[in-house]
Structure formats: C-alpha cells, structure tokens
C-alpha cells in the first residue's frame, strides 16, 4: 500500500524535500513506518528520537494502523506562539 509522508522544520531541511509517497507492506503500523524511515534515511535518526507521528492530521502512537492513502506527518517538537 502507499501512504503520503510529509515532513517539517529540521527534518525537512535534512531530507531536502517535504512530501513523498512511500510504499509499505500492509498491514503496517506507525512503528513499522518509523523502522522503514530510519533504514532508508539514517541521517534523521537523532531528529526522529524527538519527533511524534501524525496520521491524517491527528497525533498517533506506535500502534496506530496505517491505511492506504493516509497522510503521515513527522512532527518535530513544536515551537509556536
């Protein structure tokens, strides 16, 4: 299945892109995606340790199941205000 990944701030800067379609073997959870991301992009390992993951614009945890076509965000510690 395919999911749409979107990254921000420091993670976007390191990767050099903001959105990417990623293929995953279904069924897949947030934890599976994180493992795959770290294998593919080891350069974001340190940043990922402080990031949380959103699924369809809601905060998720490792056990959240990903659905075909969902939008997954890599959310660094926020600093609005």
């Amino acid at each position: 299945m395919k999911i749409n990944l979107v990254v921000f701030a420091g993670v976007k800067e390191v990767l050099g892109w903001e959105r990417l379609e990623i293929a995953l073997t279904a069924p897949a959870t947030v934890a599976d995606l994180k493992r795959q991301l770290l294998l593919t992009y080891p350069e974001i390992t340190d940043l990922m340790a402080h990031c949380v993951i959103s699924v369809d614009q809601e905060y998720s945890d490792d056990s959240t199941v990903l659905e075909e076509g969902c939008e997954v965000g890599v959310i660094p510690p926020v600093s609005g205000g």
């Binding site: 921000f8 959103s54 926020v78 600093s79």
Partner: protein, 142 residues
C-alpha cells in the same frame, strides 16, 4: 475564530472576534518577537506550520476551552513567515460574563497551543544565522 495568516496581526481583530454584548470580561494575550534572550540577540523569527493539522488542533483547543469554561468567545490568530522584533506572532483572546473564566482560559489556551499545535519557529540572529527552536519535550506527549 481560528486563523493562520502571513499578514501582520492587528490585536483589535482578536478583540472584535470575541465581542459579545453579554461579556463583562475581555482578555487579550499578544505574543511578540523578543530582541534579547539572555545574551542572544534576535533579528526576526520565521514561522512555518502543518496548516491543515494546525487549524484542526487550534479548533480542538477552541472547542475544549468552550466546554471547560463558560466562555462567550475564543479567538486564536497565529502569524506565519517572518515576524521581526517587536511584531506580533500570536494573539489569543477570550471573553466571558465575569472575569474568572477568561483569566483561567487565556493562559490554558496559549500554553496548550505551544504544546500541541504543529507550528515551528526559526530564530534568525543579527548575523543572519538561523536555528530551529525546538523545546525539549515533543508536543503530543504533554
């Protein structure tokens, strides 16, 4: 009212948004770019966001505040892009019949916004160097 904007924020807009003829209390918080933080001199802050999720999270905070306190109006406006020293990056306003709900809801809203709304700022110093401002704790766990 919930709003993200690249334009300068007029605080009066937030007050107008919460105006209610039954309000006896109107509370406004305005966050501005600070020049000095210790010995660090800032020239501007640059904000970016995950727009769809930021609006969703701000709307949830709006709704939660309306449930927690007897408020008449809630307004949150966040600026994006470059915000030079002295200019406003955020305005939060609440109104209620009496002052206590407004005094309680205002700080709660700005604190929660800083914890959960996916907005990020980059600090640009006088030399033009930039660095991401990332608090120690990731937002969603707070």
């Amino acid at each position: 009212m919930i709003k993200l904007t690249e334009q300068p924020i007029q605080a009066q807009e937030a007050l107008d948004a919460i105006a209610d003829c039954n309000a006896g209390a109107n509370l406004l918080f305005v966050g501005t770019t600070r020049q000095w933080t210790g010995e660090q001199e800032t020239r501007e802050l640059k904000y970016e966001c995950y727009q769809e999720m930021a609006l969703k999270q701000m709307q949830q905070l709006h709704d939660q505040a309306m449930e927690k306190w007897p408020l008449l109006g809630v307004c949150m406006i966040h600026r994006l892009g470059s915000v030079p020293v002295g200019e406003t990056s955020i305005a939060v306003a609440v109104s209620s019949a009496h002052r206590q709900p407004a005094f309680q809801a205002g700080p709660w809203l700005i604190d929660r916004l800083k914890q959960v709304v996916p907005v990020w700022k980059q600090e640009i110093n006088q030399q033009g160097d930039s660095s991401w401002v990332h608090p120690v704790n990731p937002g969603a766990t707070s």
